[in-house]
Amino acid sequence: MTRSAAWTADRVSAAMQGLGTGESVAANRVRVSVPAARVLEALARTRDRLRCDHLIQIATVDTGTTFELHYHLTGAHRGIVSIRVELPRDAPRIRSAHGILPPAALYERQIHDLFGIEFEGHPDLRRLILNEDWPESEYPLRKDWVMDPGKSYGGAAKEVG
Amino acid sequence: MRGGAVLRELLASLWKGPATVRYPAERVPVPTGFRGRIAIRDDACIGCSKCALVCPTECIDMVPSEREVPVKGRTIVRKKKPEVHLFACIRCGLCEEYCPTDPKAIYLTEAFAGAGPDKEVVVR
C-alpha cells in the first residue's frame, strides 16, 4: 500500500463542489477551507463521497485574530482530508459533528473546555479536562489567556517554602 | 492436556529460581553510556554557559568563578562556571552534548544511585 498517489486536490474539490476548493498541503493530505455554517455538510460529503470513515483529530488553533478548527479524516484509501473552518474570536460557535462522527463528541468536549468554542447540539458539554474548581469561562489554551494571580485555579496550593 | 503449557512454565520458573536482583546486596550491571548523576570538571570549564542555556529544566546556574583555563592552546581567564541543582536535573544529557570542551566540563557519570535527603544539593 504505497501512499495513495490518486489522492489529488481536484478529486477533493470535485466532491466539495460549492463549499471550497482542495489544496494539496502534503503528499497525502488535501485541505479544504469551508464556511463554518456548512461544516456538517462538508463532513458528510467527506464521509460519503470521499469514503473517509475515520476521524483522526479535530485540531484547534488560536491565530490571535480567529479560531481555526481542522477536521482531519482518512479512510481505506489512506488519503487524508482536512476540513478547515474559521470562527470569530468573540462568541465562537459551530454545529457539533457528533451526529456524523461519534468520536467528535469527545474531541469537542476538550476543545470547549480549553478554548471555549461552543458546539451547538452537543449533548453534554460539561467540564472535561480542567479540575472542578477551575474558574468558569477561563480558557487556558487561548493565546491571550493569562493566569490571574488573584484567582485560585484549584489543585494543591503551591508548596510553601 | 490443555493447561500443559502453564504447568511447564510453572515448573520452569520454580526450577530457575527467583529473577529478583536483591539490591543493594546484588547490583544490576549498569551499561556503558548510562546517563547517571551529573558531574563537573572545574578545570576544563571555559564558562561559555551553553549548558545553562540548553538545560530543559533550567537547573544549571552560572556562578562567578575566575580561573585560568586552556582554550585552543591559549589560556584565558573564565568569568563563571556552572552549578547544578542535582534534584532538578532530569539526566537528559543535553548539557554534555552542547558543552564545547574536550574532555567535557559537564558530563553524566554512570552513578546509578541518586537518592538523597537534601533536596537542595548542588553539584559544583
Partner: protein, 322 residues
C-alpha cells in the same frame, strides 16, 4: 482419655496452639511456593507470624454506623468454629473426641465461616462489602452440594460417620483416593472454592471489589479473619487427607504405640502438605473466573462428577469396605 488429657489435646498439641502454628506455616508454604512459581523470592519463614503481630498492633477502626459488636462476635464465632472442627480431624491417630457423626459436625462447622463472611460484608455498610458478601454466599451454594456429596463417598465406603473411623477403615481397605479418584479431585476443587482461593476468589476480587467483605476489616479484626482463613486451610486439607488419603496412618504396621503415633503424625503432615502444594499450584496457574462461569462450571461439571462418584461408590462399594 482423662479430662486433663482432653484439655491438653484440645488446647496444646494437636489442638489450638499447634493448629495456629501449623496454619501460619501453611501460609508461609503457600505464599513461598506461589512466589517461586512466579520467579519471585517470596516471604521469609516467620512472615505470616510477623503480619499477624503487626495487624494486632494496628488501629482497629469500626466503620461508622456498622454494628461493631456484631462484627466482633462474627469474627470470634468464625475462628471458634474452625478451631473446633480441627478437634475431630485425626492428627496422631483416631481423635479421642471422635464419635459417630463427627463428620457432619466438622462439615457444618467448616461451612460456618463462609456464611459469617457474608454477614461481615453485609454489616460493613460498604458497597464493596455487600457485593463481595453476596458473591461469597452465591459461591457457597454452588460448590457446597458437590463438595459434601463427594466427601460422603469415603464415609459410605467405610460404613462410618466418624472422621477418625473412616481414616482407620482405610488402613485395611486402602486409601479411598484409589477407589474414588473423581471424588478426590472434586474435593480439592471444592476446597479451593470454599477457601475462596484463585480461581474462585470472587468475593474478595481485588480488581473490582477492592477486598469484598474484607474491605472494612482493619487491625485486630483483619488479623483474626486472616488467621481463621489459614486455620480453614489446615482443617480443609486435614479433612481431605483423612477422608481420601487415610489420615494419619502409614500403610505398614508400626509396633510400639508411641512410634505409631509419631509415624501417623508424620503421615498427617506429609499428606496435608501434599494437598497444600496442589492447592498452591492451582492458585498460581489460574486466573479468576466470573460468577456466571462459576455457576455453569459448578452445577454442571462439579455436581455431575460428584453424583457420578457417589453413584459409583453406591454401586461398586455395595456397602463393602471395612
Amino acid at each position: 482419655m482423662d479430662p486433663l488429657g482432653i484439655v491438653a489435646y484440645g488446647l496444646l498439641f494437636p489442638g489450638l496452639v499447634f493448629l495456629i502454628g501449623y496454619a501460619l506455616f501453611f501460609e508461609f508454604v503457600d505464599r513461598k511456593l506461589a512466589a517461586r512459581f512466579q520467579s519471585r523470592v517470596g516471604p521469609p519463614l516467620l512472615q505470616p507470624f510477623a503480619d499477624l503481630v503487626k495487624l494486632l498492633s494496628k488501629e482497629d477502626v469500626d466503620t461508622e454506623g456498622s454494628d461493631a459488636t456484631a462484627i466482633r462476635a462474627i469474627l470470634i464465632l468464625a475462628f471458634a468454629a474452625v478451631a473446633t472442627a480441627f478437634l475431630y480431624v485425626p492428627v496422631l491417630g483416631p481423635s479421642p473426641l471422635a464419635f459417630q457423626g463427627d463428620l457432619v459436625v466438622v462439615l457444618y462447622l467448616f461451612t460456618l465461616p463462609t456464611i459469617l463472611l457474608f454477614l461481615l460484608g453485609w454489616l460493613s455498610r460498604n458497597v464493596f462489602g455487600t457485593i463481595g458478601g453476596t458473591r461469597a454466599l452465591t459461591q457457597l451454594f454452588i460448590y457446597e452440594v458437590p463438595l459434601f456429596l463427594v466427601l460422603l463417598g469415603p464415609a459410605i465406603a467405610a460404613q462410618s460417620w466418624s472422621l477418625s473411623g473412616i481414616a482407620e477403615a482405610q488402613r485395611a481397605s486402602g486409601w479411598a483416593v484409589v477407589a474414588q479418584p473423581i471424588g478426590f479431585l472434586v474435593a480439592l476443587i471444592g476446597l479451593q472454592a470454599k477457601l475462596e482461593r484463585a480461581p474462585f476468589d470472587l468475593p474478595e476480587a481485588d480488581t473490582e471489589l477492592v477486598a469484598g467483605p474484607w474491605t472494612e476489616l482493619t487491625g485486630r479484626k483483619l488479623a483474626m479473619m486472616r488467621l481463621t482463613m489459614d486455620l480453614a486451610l489446615v482443617v480443609g486439607s486435614g479433612l481431605v487427607a483423612a477422608l481420601f488419603l487415610g489420615g494419619p496412618s502409614v500403610p505398614w504396621v508400626v509396633e510400639p504405640a508411641w512410634l505409631a503415633a509419631a509415624a501417623g503424625f508424620a503421615a498427617f503432615l506429609g499428606k496435608t502438605l501434599g494437598i497444600l502444594v496442589v492447592l498452591a499450584t492451582i492458585r498460581s496457574a489460574m486466573g479468576r473466573i466470573r460468577m456466571d462461569q462459576l455457576d455453569a462450571f459448578g452445577w454442571t461439571v462439579l455436581t455431575g462428577a460428584g453424583i457420578l462418584q457417589i453413584g459409583l461408590v453406591l454401586v461398586l462399594g455395595g456397602g463393602g469396605g471395612g
